[in-house]
Amino acid sequence: MNPTLKALLITLALVVAGALIFPSSYYFRVGSLIWINTISVTGIVVLLGYVGLVSLGHAGFFAIGAYAVAVLPGYGVPSGAALFVGAAAAGLLAMVIGRPILRLSGYYLAIATLGLGMLIWMVLTKESWLTGGPDGMVVAGFNPRHWFALVGIKMKSTEAWYWLTGLVATIGVVLAVNLGNSPWGRALRAVHDSDVAASSLGVDVARAKVVAFAISAVYAAVAGSLLALANGYITPDTAGFMHSVEMVTMAVLGGATTVYGAIVGSLILTALPQVLTFVAEYEHIVLGGVMVATMVAMRRGLVPALGDLAHRLAMRGRSK
């Protein structure tokens, strides 16, 4: 099947399936968080899975999107437009910062991006006249329920948010799949495997890295805007180090080489802590245990590992 169509159908099917089985608003709320994380983690897949660059600062870009929809409406910019302004700002910043720091690779790059994330966190914390400081700020009301009401569909706010984030995540996944199978995508994946060979074929490696960095920053910013709008409240913690680590962890756990890894990683690491509330104080032990076990048994991540398994079973079935 055409990979674009496949990505569209799989993601949409998951969005619809969630809506059909969720019994209460609480589930729809967690579902929205899963789709928001899917968006930012899909950006990480483009950066880490396609090009092979590790960023520990993407929470900074996420926060740029979040604060864009928090701050700009106070200056008369509608929330929807603020989302695009935030995404553009994150992309531009990534391009400007990307040139010098993407010369680094491996853990050197990880540390440089970590510094970038911390800088953004610091600005958000200190500039309280604009951002409300460490206490955060209220995000002006925006409710997708009204959009759905315009076309005659009545639903609760949590449901409306679930559908909106699910649809945006679907678009994000489809765009990333398109990119992966396109001329640019091949150039990016070539840089991942051998930058010497890629450049010998005419790929401008530095430019390819900057482009991937900017794309992933835009994904993070869009996710940040959606989270801020859905929560109606935002604090500088969204730019925090742990959030950056969380994004990379979701990508690696699900399988950073494929967008489906982004969906699975976001699903597990968003839903599991909710499921584990019944073990209360042991939550983190179980969560950590699941992550360690997964990575030891399937170092390429869940989706690629399960894909290999299915492939092997199919081969065995054929040879019989």
């Binding site: 674009t4 489809v174 765009l175 398109n178 990119l179 199978n181 396109s182 001329p183 640019w184 995508g185 091949r186 150039a187 994946r189 070539a190 991942h192 495997d193 051998s194 010497v196 060979a197 890629a198 450049s199 010998s200 074929l201 005419g202 790929v203 401008d204 490696v205 482009v211 794309i215 080489t257």
Partner: protein, 262 residues
């Protein structure tokens, strides 16, 4: 004017002159071979020509234009392509995708079209796929197109690199030991392939250890030893050159070779 001209090219690593003021030129439609014992500086010379290393001294000219110091992707734009001695394939891609990546400079769709999957992007991909398939056909790997490159044998990967370089539409092709890891039949095939590429007007520069192959297909041979050029000429001139024999076999071996010939 020769298509590729190398003048006094040199580089040192920590005081050791890995390539010391080497000059030669290579013409379109011919195979120019660079030979020499292990450690003579052949691959280093390739890395200098293709922009992977920055030369300490000398110049590289393509069609008379000085391209010294240009990065590899700019040289690729000028029509230079290469293969690698220690294989630089894309192991996570299929064989076909590896070769399609070689079409990068032909592909004109922009980033937005690629993200949105617009017809212009899909057309470019379809065009590249066609070119890549015929290149795979040419090197005898068409039946392995859908396989992950990591599953191919060493000799197959060597030919995969040639296919990837060919689809760039290069006018200068640097081949670093293309027949390494090939059996006798495959070597013969590579031999014919290189012949055919040169006949199409491509300027082929070859590093190869298989002397029979070198003697058979080269128009011109450059011999390196310890970073310096020690001889240059037609295959029959190189075969009988005392210094070349001494470089390969040592002075004692050269004397024995002479005795055996006499």
């Amino acid at each position: 004017m020769n298509r590729l001209e190398i003048e006094n090219l040199g580089i040192s690593f920590g005081g050791i002159k890995a390539v010391d003021s080497v000059s030669f030129s290579a013409a379109a439609g011919e195979v120019t071979s660079i030979i020499g014992p292990n450690g003579a500086g052949k691959t280093t010379l390739f890395n200098l020509i293709s922009g992977v290393y920055a030369a300490d001294t000398g110049h590289v000219r393509i069609e008379g234009a000085d391209v010294t110091g240009e990065p590899p992707h700019r040289l690729a734009r000028r029509g230079m392509a290469r293969t690698f001695q220690n294989l630089q394939i894309f192991p996570q891609m299929t064989a076909l995708d590896n070769v399609m990546t070689g079409c990068h400079l032909r592909e004109t769709s922009n980033l937005l079209a690629d993200l949105l999957g617009l017809p212009s992007s899909l057309r470019e991909t379809a065009k590249s796929r066609g070119l890549a398939l015929s290149a795979l056909e040419r090197v005898g790997l068409a039946n392995l197109a859908a396989r992950p490159a990591s599953e191919l044998s060493y000799g197959q990967l060597k030919r995969l690199e040639i296919a990837r370089a060919l689809v760039t539409g290069c006018s200068i092709l640097l081949l670093d030991e293309p027949a390494a890891g090939c059996n006798a039949v495959e070597t013969r095939e590579v031999d014919d392939l290189i012949h055919a590429i040169a006949d199409e007007g491509v300027c082929v520069v070859l590093i190869e250890h298989d002397m029979r192959m070198v003697m058979r297909i080269s128009s011109h041979i450059v011999v390196l030893d310890q970073g310096s050029k020690i001889a240059e000429g037609k295959p029959e001139e190189i075969r009988d050159n005392e210094r070349v024999i001494a470089a390969y076999l040592g002075a004692h071996g050269a004397a024995e070779a002479r005795a055996a010939h006499a």
